[in-house]
Every structure is written in structure tokens, then in C-alpha cells.
Symmetry: D4
Subunit: 214 residues, 8 copies
């Protein structure tokens, strides 16, 4: 049929397959989840609309929806979270919140403890400096920023942990849909920074989870 | 002929015409300077090669060359520099030095006192913080940075003076010849930042000079 | 929480924090303004929808909305405007009006006298020449233009004041959302021009205000 | 063989085939010209190097080289030039001269009277206004400009003749090899402007010649 | 106010000012037309919506709307059309029709005779060859094509008249909103082709009108 | 009129003209189909909306609509499909399905046997390897993939048949509307891959059909 | 070591591995060829410099160099060429010759009969029409064109064979290194066209060879 | 002076400052190294020319040069390498070798054990599969690939370790200097992949080192 669920992905790469809802019909999503419910894995669907969530709820009452992050999560196994080590998710502005939420939901369902530090962009750097302890305490740091994305470089110069930068499409005009933050982060003069796709909170958290659980 | 020197530019816009040497032959440059030497103005030529300088020296012994900034300057009038107020030129990395020098030569020949603060990029932000007094003391600040150009935003969040940002082509790969720093600066989340062309140290200093002499 | 209002920004960079409404929910905006109303600062929100304004009015009756400029302003302190010196805002075409209005509202709430000169684009240059006196009289000039953005260069060749150019997304096809005017202004052959982001009337006015109050 | 000279082009489109030398070897050029010399047409080769010219001279002593315009011309027929009507070629800066020369050589060998007005860019608009009579007197106007290319719009707003705009690659940084002037001219708010390729003096003159001889 | 109608444009550049409706409110349009109705000129408004037309009809009953071309025209003076000479408007596909109509309405109100030849793109070149007589008979040819825009080059190789090429945004994917046709036309290997902005039927016709009436 | 149906296209290039519905009105489509129904050819319309289909059904009851592929097909001649040889259509993810369907409908109406292998992207390469037999058995392979489009290269390294790659716009952010997959496929390090436009399932199938019927 | 020769590629995809010399040192090339000479396959190296050829000759006297196509070929097995069926390689201008030669050398060493038709670009379409018989007679057609790349569409509308289009970097300015021809070919309104990378004569011929030998 | 060595970077971010030689003069490099030699840190300089190395050797005899990787290394402290855990550096083609070498030198001087697996690109995927054990055994994997960069996705689908992808500028034409591989990697459908700048072997290894030493 139209979908081939990759069931042994958990064995192969350590995480179950995650459903990307964009471009799928509600019917397709429902039948994919129906199938996955027959297994013992936790389920995560990203870029899900409210309407999709309503449909999923009809087949699985415990499904939870995060409207800002646009995720559906079904927690089948109550794994203990990583104990001492955690992932810090730091964001530049209030408008980056949906990416932060997608990342947080992903990190948690993959079994990680998470700390969120929001709206600490470089326009008021004292807000960031006030939070350095909690950021430095993380095993891996996700930095979410739009516009010029400078936050990744600044944090990169201050901590000795791997930093995964997520450029966001927040901004307008010459941000060209997130290109400005993307190029900024790729050219970071601070060296511990690697980058994922624009608005890809999921990918950043997936990456961070692998590192956090090394 | 091929050039129409704009002699009353000083009266109209407050500064004499400046010669942009790229794409001109040595002969063209020489004949332009020959003509300008008949006036009482200071002379500035940017993007000048060593060979051009050698040619100019044959007609004007006092001509001075800055090999890093690639400028030729002829100081005809010894104007007193601006007294208390000065322009700060701040740069991110050692490789931005040629843009810094072009800006400094321009600012000085236009009659401004200049303070240079180099190699204080955000990868090691303590280097910048250690220099904030001298930066805050300026009437206008020029920020020169390549790669991700984050320095402009960080300074923009810390000072209450107009900031003129110059993206540089320093870097490689996805810097796309300075595009990364340019977009970064245009999308600065700090609000007091305006931007000139990539590597345009001259334009930044010209602008800063107008503001410094308001 | 999701927002960290930067209260001592006024002390640090001379202006209170301004709220950028794009990507915020009505609820988020309301709670940010609720908090800011407890301080003595004037309040400015940009890119605000009518619906946002309706919500803000319920918590602050004096809030004012400019539908063309899409700004909400709350004037808490009746500061005297700058006396003799003013900011000129010059625009090329009628369609640039929303950017002009955003700039004007910003400049006024930051305490500046403003003169608007609209629809004087280079296709009919006599309209511009007829207004040169009022433009030349300003301490700083904001030029707003879409399409090819030539107006910035022409004014740059005629006045001896700092010019802040705002490219607009007005136009179609090969204007690529404002890229044509942006590149035009960055490459201006007139030297006193610096540039802010496409459609960024707010940023231009913020900059101009700093210069006007030097 | 490798080239199929289009001999009846003059009958079909009114002009003989012109040789574009870039990417051809000296030997290829020589054998093409050898063949064309057997016909009665004037010969024009563009983008020719000095070395190419030396080779052509060995088979045709009357060949003439314009080192700035990089053209080789062989005048086989001494046609009278267009009498009263002429093409005006207006350029913004001294560095645009090579494009002006390519255009002028092309226009002349196609039988047109030409007037050149150079270095009248918008940074000093009085230089342009002083030449308006000669520009207005032309039957068709070629405008050559790099950087922001504003000259095309300004002239477009002042004359009632067809204007063919040639963006040049003059400039640096965010001119992106002529893209800034190209987009500027395509988005001209003045309506009588059409555009040819970056640095394409030949194409502009070819076009202008057709119009001048209508 | 917000608009400065350029009344002596007709004297200066030979055509009355044309109204570009995009980005204007219905009210702004109405008050501009109200003002222009006090003069003796024909009126043309482009990119006008049906709603705008309804508003204009309330103040001028003779206003005519072309829904495909999205133009409003008010014919105040019944000028005789150009007699023997005409403008040919040739288009590649059925989907280019709105640009063709904008061009035709513009050409006609500026007093030109027009011949339309539609849907003769190069995928079936015999359709074009069958129409060559009427194309060759024109004084100037407008070529409208999207996708790869090859039609301009093919016609350019077959006629000895000036060709004004209009790239359209017709297509999808790697047409990048008309960029493919635009670059194609700018790089035409046929030499008599000049180009206007993507979808700019108006500009092409305005240009053609000047040439047709030389 | 507005459309010139290319009736002898079947004789000339071996396939009847196909209708591209984007940018056409329902009325235009209906009158084109009305005309084509008078001939003996099968009819295919791509990028058709449901509304268009409803209109076509009123004039031709046998018309069939594929809502995922957005095609209308009218099978006038029941040609036998190619016997032993078939076209394989392989896709990377579930979201590529609409392009797969457009390709499949096109291939079938042009008389080809088709095998679809969906959702076998490289993130789980064992799914692909499990299907290699059916892919290797095809005479020509269409590979449909968005995001990074790696599937084309991987298949290109495994089979000795011509591969036609269709990049899709599936993805977000730095996929830039399909550019990432397009560039990926054009730069394939596997040599047997050629590429059609983004989302152009029709073009890929048309090509594959020619090859399959050689 | 640094290279892993893919020896069973011939079995897997039907052709031996081809050496891409760009970015390899002369020493690396020599040791790769040394190794391949121990097998029975023909050898093809593309993008090879003269210096590389000199080095290869020292270890294999029969090596042949094509200076225009920049290929080194070593014919170890004298396979009979395809008998009746051939590949037509059609090019637009004289400057495309190096891509034509790369394609021809590749096609021949892979065992195909080849017909070259050069310099028949659309600026003089009669040159193309005069060659249609030989083009129509091919089993597959390679079209090589730079600038606007219109030739692919025109041929696509005239023949019923698969067409593989190779955009070239021939041209300047807004050709952006071959982008214009690339986009043109991807957006071809003629449907039987698929595309390979800019200047990729090798890839086109490899593809054509697979099809020619189906 | 022109450089402010960031001496406490090791304490702050865990690694000493690395010298980026591009855009520095030989004299500047020498004086920076002179200064660093007074400390106890290992020294790494990237993008260094042979000439630079010759100069450095005059002040430090133990300096070592890697001509492929273009690095200068001075091993001041003989730290034990990471014991059981190692970094795998996997590359697609022979031409990627200089990036592999830069990465390897960086990883080693930062104290990591390294395994290199070269020339295993997806065009011959069996070469990769044969090396999966050594790749799966690493704690973190660096994937270096140019052209379409598919290797990152394929490995991402096969291992459960963090993958740092380095796009290279290897290729030509539509690789646009590495853009194709960059976009490919950013859009990877495999989730454990993060990306650094084009050709940035240094940055990838720096990142990998942090992770390897967690
Ligand atoms: N129209 C605007 N364009 C650009 N930046 C703005 C605009 N309005 C407000 N801002 C800035 O956006 C910042 C707030 O961003 P956030 O933290 O996301 O609310 C403020 O500090 C302003 O300086
Ligand atoms: N400088 C130029 N720029 C653009 N096209 C040119 C130029 N010079 C000559 N041409 C055109 O290039 C064609 C010759 O191309 P080719 O067949 O490659 O020699 C001629 O027909 C001219 O119309
Ligand atoms: N989905 C499609 N993508 C690209 N081209 C198409 C598509 N469907 C039809 N076509 C082509 O578009 C041409 C019709 O264009 P038009 O003259 O605008 O109707 C036909 O000859 C087809 O070859
Ligand atoms: N090959 C490289 N690519 C990117 N960044 C580098 C490279 N080599 C060194 N760097 C960084 O560049 C910084 C030095 O820049 P600068 O101040 O201009 O000397 C160092 O802190 C390094 O982190
Ligand atoms: Mg904020
Ligand atoms: Mg440094
Ligand atoms: Mg107006
Ligand atoms: Mg000049
Ligand atoms: Mg059609
Ligand atoms: Mg899937
Ligand atoms: Mg030719
Ligand atoms: Mg290899």
C-alpha cells in the first residue's frame, strides 16, 4: 500500500518511526496509527492539525495534542526519563515557541529530561547570562532562533557542550523564510555548533536525544 | 570625456567626491587625480592597487598608501579632527582587517577621531565586554563582521548609539561571498542597526562621519 | 514563562522594548501588555491585527490603532517632541504607505517631530525636487521605496544628512518580495545611505530617532 | 564542421551574424572570419582578446580593435550613417566604459550615428540634467549602469523615447555580479524601459539599431 | 496627501500616468480617479479587482473592465488608432492570456492597432510558422511566454523588428515564479530581444507603443 | 481563439496533446475538451480541480477523475498495454503520492503497464532492497522523491536501466519548494539518472513511455 | 586507501566505472588507472588535463586524449558499435563544443554509433530544420545548449524520441553559470525532455547509451 | 593589536582557539603562533598554505604540515587518545579527501581516536555495506560528501549514533559550490543528522570531539 511502516527502525537506529503529517490525508494518518497501535512503541506524529488529532482520538483515547507544537503523542510505555542528564532548549524570541514545543515533545517521548529557557535573544543579552548555569548544566543544548540567529554563536562561545541549532522562519523580508538564520548558524564563528533544517524542532531533539543517551 | 568630476559635491552633500578605483585603468586614475589636485580638497581613492599608488606618487609626492585598506589618501587641508566625539570601529576577527582599515582611512580623511577595537567576535564574548566602555563612549559605532555577523546584534543590544554594520566576505562555503553576514545584519533583532554593502568600509565610514558631525 | 520583557532596555539602549506581534497569539500579546502597563513607559506594538487591537482595548481604553501602519500605541508619558529638529519620511509611491505609517508611528512615540513627503518617486522627479527644502531641513531622512528603490540614491546625491533606506515589497515578479529594492539600496552609488530590512519601517524610525536625538 | 555561419541572417533579420568570441579558440575565430571575408558584409566580433586581434590582422589588414570594448571590426561596405536620427548611449560611471564601447562599436558598424554621454550617474544628478537636450534629441536611448542601476529609471521619467537598459557587473558584494542593477532595471517604476543581459552592450545596440532604422 | 498625480507626464514622456492598483485601497483608487476625471486624459488602471471596478463605476459609468487582463479603462478622448502600423502580441500558451490582455488593453488605450496571436508556443512550432506573415507585418512584436520562454528566441531569429519579451509566471516548480522564462529571455541567442518584468504586460505595451509611434 | 489544439502532435511526436489545467478557467477547459472529443484520441488533463471534473462530466460521462493525482482521463481507444515490458514508479515517502498518481495515470493512458513501489525511501533502505527484483525487471524506472531526493542516486547505483527522477516539493524550510531534491538529483553521483521539473509526474511518465515503447 | 574501484559495476549497472579527474592529483589518477589496467574493461577519464594525459601515457601508450572534450580513453576491447541505431548529439553554438566532445567520447567508448550536428541554435532555425532527418533517425537525441537553452524545447516539439538535454555554462551575466539554460530545459513546454547537470556531457551520453542499447 | 587570542577558551568551551589562516598574512600567522607557543596548549592552524608552513617551521621545528588537509599542527602535550571510543570519518568520493584530512587532523589533535573509511559513496552501495561494522562501532560519525550528498541519509538510516554531515564543494554546475550537498543534508529524511558549513572538516571534527568525550 501507500505506506511501509519501518518497524525494526527502533532496533536499527534506536528510535521508533515518527509520522510526518504534512501532505498526508486524515485517513492515511489514521490507518498508519491504527497499525502502529498493534506494536508496543510510543507514537509521535508531528505537523499534525487539530482535525487530525480529533480523528486519532476516536481510535486512541490517550492520544495527547500540543497545539503550539502541533504534535500528537501516544505514550504506550512509561519509560523512566534520563536521570541526571538533561537537554536544554533555549530560544531567542516568543515567536519561536512552536519550534520549541515540537522539540520538547519529541525529546520527552524519546525519554529525556528537558529544560526550556525561552525569549533570551541577544537583543538583551543579560537575560541569557542570567540563565547560563542551567544551560551549562545540560549534556546537550538545542538553540532555537529566527531572524539573524545570533543566539547560537553566542551560546557556542560560552559552553563546552554540543549545540544543535534550529533556524526558524520567524521574521520577514530579507529573512527569506528562515534563510538568514540558517546561513548564520552554518557560518557560526563558534565551533561547537551543528545545524538542522529550518523549523525542524523534531530533528534537533531526535539528535539531542541520541547524544543525551550515549 | 570618460569622467565628470563632481566638484560641487562638497557643497551639496558635505563631502568631496571619492574615487572608486576598481575597473579603472591606471591612466584614468592618474588623470582624475591630476585634475582634482588643482582644487583645495583632500583626496581619497579606494580599492587602489600598489601599482596605482606608484603611478599617483609620480604626480603627488605626499600621497599615502594603506596596503591593508587599499586606499590612497592625499591630505591637502589639515582640518582639526572632531574633538570630543569619535567613531568606534569594532571588528569580529583578524581577517576583517582590510575592511576596518578602509573605514578608518575614510573616517580620518573626513575629519573624524577614530577608535579601533579589533578581533572581539562573539565566539569569545568576554573580549567584547572588556571593551564596552570605549564602544559606549563613541557617538556612532561601525561594526565589521563576516561569517555569521552576530557581533552587530550583540552590540546593538548593549549601546544606545547608531550602529552601522558592515558585513564582510570573510568565511567560505555557505557564507556565499558575504551573504550570510549581510542577511544576519539586516534581520538583526536589535533595533539600532543599519547596514551597508558587503565589504563597504568606505560607505560605513562616510555615513558615520555625517552622523558624527551632526 | 514564554516572554521575558526587557525592562531595563530603556536605560541600556535608550528606548523601551517594542512588541513584534507577528507569530504571537492574541492571548500572549494581551498578557505582555498587561505586564508593561504596570511600568511608566510608552507602549508600541507593531504588525498588530485589528483583532489584537480589539483585545488590547479591553484592558487599556487609551490604546490607539493605525490600520495602515498596523501599530497599536499607548502613550503613557506626554514627552515634548524634539523641538527644532525633525525626521523626514519620504516615499516613492502610494503603495508604500503602510511602511511610512509604521515608521511615523514609531518615530512619534519615541518623541520625534516628523514630516511625511509621499509619492515622489523618480518616475516624475520634479515632484521630488519641489520638496527638497523640507527634505534638506531634516536632521535625518528615511527613504521608503519598493520596485527598483532608486529614490534612495537620488536623495543621497542631493542632501548632506544621514539617509536610512527602507526597501519595500511593493511590486511583483522580479522584485522577488523586495529583493530588487534591497539590493538597489545596498549598492547605492550615493554614499550617505544605510539600509534596514525589507518593509522595516519600525527599524528605520528607531534608528532615525537615535540619530535625531544625538 | 563546428560552425554554421548564418549567411542569410541579413535578409531574414536585417543584420549580418556577429561573432561571439568567448569560448572560441583563436583558430576557430580565424577560420570563421576567413569564411566571412568571402562575402560583402561588414564583420563584427565581440569579446575578442588582443591575441585574437593579432591573429585576425594576419588575414585582414584593415581589421580594427577597440581594446576597451574588446571588439574587432572589419568595415567592408562604407554605408552612410543614419542622417538626422541618432542613438544616445548614456552611462552612470567611468567603470562602465567597456560596455559603452561595445555598444558604440556595434551601433556604428550597423550604420547608426551615436552620441556618448558618460559618467552622469544619479549620485550627482545635475551632471545628467545638463545633458538632457542631447539625450532627448535621440531616437532611442541606451542606458548603461552598474551598482543600483537607478539611472535607467531617472532617464525613463524624463524622456519620451524607447530606453534600452544595460545592467553592468560594475560594483562588488551585494551587486552579485550585476544582479542588483538587473533587478533594478526590470522593476523600473518608469514605464518606457526594457532590459538586456548584464554587460550586453552588443545586444542593446543591436536592438537600438533596429529601432533607429524603423 | 498620499498621492501626487503626475499631470504633466504626458508632456514629458508622451503618455498619461497609469494607476497600479496592487497595494492600494478601493478608497485610494476612487479618489485618484475622481481627480484624474477632471482632466482630459484617457485613464488606465492595471491589476484592478472586480470590487475596485464596481467602485469606479459609481463615479464614472463609461468605465470598462477586462476581467482576464484585470484592467479598468476610461476612454475620454477618441483618438484615431495608428493607421498602417500595428503591434503584434504573440503568446506561447493559453495560460498566458491574462498578460496578453493587459498588454492589449494598454496598447489600445495608448492609440495603437493590435494583432493578437495566441497559443503558438514552440512545442508545436508549425502553429507559429503558420502565423509568421502577420507577425512579420508588425512594426514591433511583443512575445509573452512562461515556462522556458523559448518563443522569444525563436521569433527573434525570424523577424527584423524590435521584440519586447514578457516572461510570465505560468508554470510551476523550477519556474520559480517566472525566473526561468526571465533568464531565458535575457540570455536569448537571438539579438533583437529586450525584456520587461515578469507578467508585465503593461510595460511591454507601453514600450511598444512608444516605438510604434516613433 | 485562445487555444490552438495541436492535433497532429500524435503523428509528429507520437503522443496526443495533453491539457495543463493550471491557469485555465473551467469554461476554457470545457471548450478545449469539447473540441478534442470530436477526434479519436484519448484525452488527459493534468492539474485539474474537482470542480473542473464536475464540468467535464456534464459533456462526457465516461470521464474519470483521480483526486490524488488531480487528473481527468477519457479513454476513447482501448489500446492493449505494453505486454512484457513495464514502467516501475518508485517513491520515497507517503507524501509523494500525488506525483506518483499523476505519473501512473499518464503512463497508463499512453498505453504502458505500470508497477508502483511506494514509501521505500533511504531512511529505511531494507524496504528498498526488498523490492529490487520488481524494480530491476522494469524497462525504465521513474523515481519520485522529495526532501533530499537521495533515492534516485541509490537506485541509480543498483540498476542498469534508464532512470527518470522527479524531485517533489515535499518537505519544508531549506527544501525551498523542491530545490533540494532537484539539485540532489541533478548532481547524482550515479550516472544513469536524468531529471524533470519539480512535481512533474506527467513529464516523467511521458518520457518513460517513449522509452518503454522504443 | 583513498579509492575503492567499483569493479563489479559493469555487472550491476551495465557500464564500467568512469574516472572523474577534477579534484584528484596526477598521482591519484595514475594509480587508479594502473589498477584498472589489470582488468579487461575499457577505460574512460573525464575532466582530465593535458598534464594528466602525459602522466597516463607513461604507463599506457595507447591512451588517447581529446583536448576539447578533456577526456582520456583507453580502448581495451574492440566491441562492435551498435549497428543500425545511433545517438544524435545536437548543439546550439560553436562554444558548446567541449560538452559535445565529452558526450561523443563517452558514447563511443560505451559502444554506440554517434552523429554530431553542431551550431544549429534557434537564432537561425533553418539550420536546424535542414538537419531534421538525421535527428529524427536517431534512437535517442542529446541536445547541448547554453544561454537560453531553447533548442531542447524546439527539438522536443519535432521528434518522437527521448531527448536528454544538457545545459551548458556558455554565456555570461544573467546566465549565472548555466542556470538559465538549466531552468529553461527543466521547464520545457515540450514533454519528451529530461535533463542532466550543467556541462555534463558524460552523464547525458551514459544515459543515452543505456537507452540506445535497450 | 589586530588579534586577541582567546586564551581561556579551553577552560570555557573545552578546546584551545584554532587559527583560521584564510585572509591572514604570513606575518600575522607567525606572530599569533609565536604568542601561542608561550602557552602549554597544542596548536592547530587550518587553511594554511605551504608558504605559511615554511614560515612557521622557522620558529617551531616540530610543526607538522598536512598538504591535503592544509593544516599545521604543533603537538605540545602528548595527551592519551580516547581509549575505546572513536570517531568514524566516512567519505563519498576520492575528491573529498582534503575535507577528510582537515577533519582527521582536528580530531586527533583534540585527543580522539579516528577511523577513516573513504570512497564509499552511494553509487556503489555495497562498498558502504562492507564497512558498516566499523561505522556502527564509532561513538559519533562524520559523513563527508559532495555532489548530491546522499551518503549522509543512507548512513543515517543505518546507525544509531549522532551523525555530523559535512557537505563538500566537490562537483560542478548545479552543485553551486556545495549548495546541492548542503541542502540535501539539511533535508535528510533520516533523523539523526546535523550539518556544518560546506567543506568545514574542522567544525565537524570539533563537534564530534565534544560528543566523543562526553
Ligand atoms: N516591525 C518590527 N520589525 C522588526 N523588529 C521588530 C518590529 N517590531 C518590534 N521589533 C523588535 O522585536 C523585538 C521583540 O521580539 P519578541 O521577543 O519575539 O517579542 C523587540 O525588541 C523589537 O526590538
Ligand atoms: N557580446 C555578445 N553578447 C551576446 N551575444 C552575442 C555577442 N556577440 C555576438 N553575439 C551573438 O552570438 C551569436 C554567435 O554565437 P556562436 O554560434 O556561438 O558563435 C551571434 O549570432 C550573435 O548574435
Ligand atoms: N502537469 C504538466 N506539467 C508540465 N507540462 C504539462 C503538464 N500537463 C500538460 N503539460 C504540457 O502543457 C502543454 C499545454 O499547455 P497550454 O498550451 O498552456 O495548454 C501540453 O502540450 C503538455 O505537453
Ligand atoms: N577551517 C575552519 N573553518 C571554520 N572555522 C574555523 C576554521 N579554522 C578555525 N576556525 C575558527 O576561526 C576562529 C578564528 O578566527 P579569527 O579570529 O579570524 O582568527 C577560531 O576560533 C576557530 O574556531
Ligand atoms: Mg522578546
Ligand atoms: Mg580571532
Ligand atoms: Mg505615484
Ligand atoms: Mg563618476
Ligand atoms: Mg497550448
Ligand atoms: Mg514513510
Ligand atoms: Mg553560431
Ligand atoms: Mg570513487
Amino acid at each position: 500500500g501507500f505506506a511501509k511502516i519501518d518497524n525494526h527502525r527502533e532496533i536499527r537506529v534506536g528510535c521508533p518511526e515518527v509520522i510526518y503529517c504534512e501532505g498526508k490525508t486524515v485517513e492515511q494518518l489514521k490507518s498508519i496509527i491504527q497499525y502502529m497501535l498493534t506494536k508496543e512503541n510510543n507514537i509521535l506524529a508531528t505537523r499534525a492539525s487539530e482535525e487530525m488529532y480529533e480523528a486519532v482520538k476516536t481510535i486512541c483515547a490517550e492520544a495527547r495534542y500540543n497545539p503550539l507544537g502541533r504534535t500528537i503523542t501516544i505514550q504506550k510505555r512509561e519509560d523512566p526519563l534520563t536521570a541526571s542528564s538533561y537537554i536544554a532548549i533555549v530560544s531567542a524570541g516568543t515567536s519561536d515557541i512552536s519550534v520549541v514545543e515540537e522539540a520538547a515533545e519529541t525529546a520527552i517521548i524519546l525519554g529525556n529530561r528537558v529544560e526550556k529557557i525561552m525569549d533570551v535573544g541577544v537583543a538583551g543579552i543579560h537575560r541569557l547570562l542570567a540563565k547560563m548555569d542551567i544551560i551549562r548544566g545540560a549534556k546537550v543544548v538545542i538553540v532555537v532562533a529566527g531572524m539573524e540567529g545570533a543566539l547560537a554563536s553566542v551560546i557556542g562561545g560560552l559552553v563546552d557542550k554540543p549545540i544543535i541549532a534550529v533556524p526558524t522562519s520567524v521574521g520577514y523580508g530579507a529573512n527569506f523564510g528562515g534563510l538568514s538564520a540558517l546561513l548564520s548558524m552554518l557560518n557560526s564563528c563558534a565551533s561547537g555548533v551543528s545545524v538542522v533544517n529550518i523549523d525542524n524542532g523534531f530533528g534537533a531533539a531526535y539528535n539531542a536525544s541520541i547524544i543525551n543517551q550515549l
